[in-house]
């Protein structure tokens, strides 16, 4: 458990630094309550919810062990959507949020396919690890929030003013693509890729191509061929995550190029 929290902490630090300690607009499945802007006051609630989820998921696997494929796995999704912890992790660390969805479907599909209980328990363990990793990330976010290092979570989408900001938003959107894909919403994920390309990347690629034409060419291919193809082919979530991580690395490089170009730009007046 301690190891998991430590791991999530280092991930969160990496994330926070890369985002400039700015929370992103939230687009949770359910309603995003004001609690996400007061994480510290809700930590005990989140902790209880995680324990509750672990027990509930365990009960589903127990039921499978006793009754076989009769076990109702749809309730797993209902349990997850019921808790406030859902929005707390979604608004603070989408990559782990995606892992939770991946874990839920790992257990659900294993049961639905009737695989041996031992295999289901392996998937259950991964899901529990993701939940505790998420709890660690939320606890760390609560500390940052108390220190005033996190911007208030926006409950509506905000427009990015500069090229580098747009690229940061694109990286975040790609995390959400993985989350939606892990949630088995293939068409939603594919549409998000398409929209992110047309509504975000298109606006910055003109400036970017002046800096590095090969990089734009590579990202064009990722947005229009590699990622949508992987989604439509129902590739493994890990494979999709790797494609997204590779795109995020390129976007990170692109951001540095645009920031440098912006410094060298002439004045308007």
């Amino acid at each position: 458990m301690t190891k998991l929290i430590r791991h999530s902490r280092s991930l969160f630090i990496v994330l926070s630094l890369s985002l400039g300690l700015v929370s992103q607009p939230s687009l949770a499945n359910g309603e995003v309550g004001e609690h996400v802007n007061n994480l510290h006051a809700h930590l005990s609630q989140y902790t209880e919810e995680v324990s509750w989820l672990v027990n509930k998921f365990d009960a589903v696997v127990d039921s499978y062990q006793k009754a076989g494929k009769e076990a109702n796995t749809d309730v797993m999704i209902e349990y997850w959507e019921e808790v406030n912890f859902h929005a707390a992790i979604e608004t603070n660390y989408v990559p782990v949020y995606a892992l939770i969805w991946q874990g839920i479907y790992g257990v659900k599909q294993a049961i639905d396919q009737g695989v041996p209980v031992a295999k289901v328990r392996e998937e259950q363990l991964k899901l529990e690890q993701a939940l505790f990793q998420a709890l660690g990330a939320v606890k760390l976010a609560a500390q940052y929030q108390q220190q005033g290092l996190l911007a208030k979570v926006q409950t509506t989408e905000t427009e990015m003013a500069s090229g580098p900001q747009t690229l940061e938003e694109i990286k975040h959107q790609l995390d959400r693509v993985v989350a939606k894909y892990a949630e088995k919403l293939v068409d939603v994920a594919t549409t998000m890729v398409h929209d992110t390309y047309l509504q975000r990347f298109e606006g910055v690629e003109g400036a970017l191509i002046e800096q590095d034409a090969a990089l734009v060419e590579s990202l064009e291919k990722d947005f229009n061929v590699t990622l949508p193809k992987a989604l439509q082919a129902q590739a493994d979530v890990e494979e999709v995550r790797q494609i997204v991580q590779s795109m995020q690395a390129k976007l990170h490089e692109a951001k540095a190029l645009l920031e440098k170009a912006e410094k060298n730009r002439q004045d308007v007046f």
Partner: protein, 345 residues
């Protein structure tokens, strides 16, 4: 000092009311770009609705205007141009007006607002600064972009490219296009207005037989450069930008003549509220400094008389864009249903 120079400039272009209208009009037709030094300082509160622009360059312009006018309290609401257009119309129907100005990335959106009678009339000295053919009473283009035929220089020479867009349908050339792209749809709208539904449908069917589809027009230009297709259909700046990042790119631009293939479309601004402040703000966007900045940094075409196009693009006066009221390009619905009917969307 600034106000005095400004009045002198207005007098020079015949904007003062006491000049006979004929003289005023004649002088106005010769108006050229003003320098920011000639404009009055901006003071007061303004709310601008800003359609998503070119990677933050419009923001740089706005920041510079703010910096130069410390007494201007400029609030900006950003969003997709179409969404902001709908917001302005909805707000007006609800009897509220939150925006004083709207700067849209395409002029089609402007048409929806002027048709609703929400835009106020602009002074003639202001509209007279615009190039001939781009002067409108209730909105003004800011910068333009022209439809082009980017071609692969290893596969084609300029002479092999028809100077009529309609001729492309029957040519043997392989063509890259992006039918889902807004600029392409505006171009098809212009073709529909100029050539009619049937000719446009035939053209779409003809070209689709030897076309390769890309998601966006930068993709089209890159596909042309890689030699995947002989030529493409795209706005001019993608080619100029790609050549800037890759000087040895196997790319050049060709233009058709007097048809939708060389349509000039524009970003545009309009004033929604009364008073001098919104109008004078628009004057800043038309200064030679802002126009030149957007030309050199975003490769957009200055729409004010007397200013040169971005490097690598011929003078607008040497091209022959078709005469289309750009506001009519807002009428996308028939275009989209036509494109769906012939199976290119």
């Amino acid at each position: 000092m600034q106000r005095r120079t400004f009045i002198q400039s207005l007098a020079a272009v015949g904007a003062l009311g006491f000049l006979p209208s004929g003289v005023s009009r004649a002088l106005a037709q010769e108006a050229q770009a003003l320098s920011v030094e000639q404009l009055p300082a901006l003071e007061g509160n303004l709310t601008l609705y800003l359609g998503r622009g070119e990677g933050g360059l419009y923001e740089n312009v706005l920041d510079a205007i703010r910096k130069r006018n410390p007494k201007l309290n400029l609030q900006i609401r950003r969003g997709a141009t179409a969404a902001l257009t709908n917001t302005i119309v909805a707000e007006a129907k609800a009897g509220v007006r939150r925006a004083d100005l709207f700067w849209a990335v395409d002029s089609g959106a402007i048409g929806l607002i002027t048709d609703e009678g929400l835009a106020r009339e602009l002074p003639t000295d202001l509209t007279a600064q615009l190039k001939t053919g781009f002067q409108y009473p209730r909105w003004t283009p800011v910068t333009g972009r022209i439809r082009t035929l980017p071609f692969n220089t290893e596969k084609l020479s300029k002479e092999q490219i028809p100077d009529s867009i309609m001729a492309l349908a029957d040519s043997k050339l392989s063509i890259g296009w992006a039918p889902a792209y807004a600029a392409f749809q505006s171009f098809v709208t212009a073709m529909r207005l100029l050539e009619g539904e049937k000719a446009t449908a035939d053209w779409l069917r003809g070209v689709s037989r030897h076309a390769k589809t890309y998601a966006g027009e930068l993709g089209v230009v890159m596909g042309v450069e890689r030699g995947e297709v002989d030529l493409g259909l795209a706005n001019h700046y993608y080619t100029l930008r790609l050549k800037s990042g890759k000087p040895d790119a196997r790319l050049d631009l060709a233009f058709t003549r007097n048809d939708a293939g060389c349509l000039v479309n524009a970003s545009g601004v309009l004033a929604l509220s009364e008073g001098d402040l919104p109008i004078n703000f628009i004057r800043y966007l038309l200064t030679k400094e802002v126009q030149s900045y957007l030309s050199s940094e975003a490769y957009e075409i200055p729409m004010v008389s007397g200013l040169s196009p971005p490097e690598g693009l011929p003078l607008l006066s040497s091209l022959s864009p078709p005469k289309v009221d750009l506001r009519q390009l807002a009428d996308l619905r028939p275009t989209l249903s036509l494109m769906r009917k012939v199976g290119v969307l």
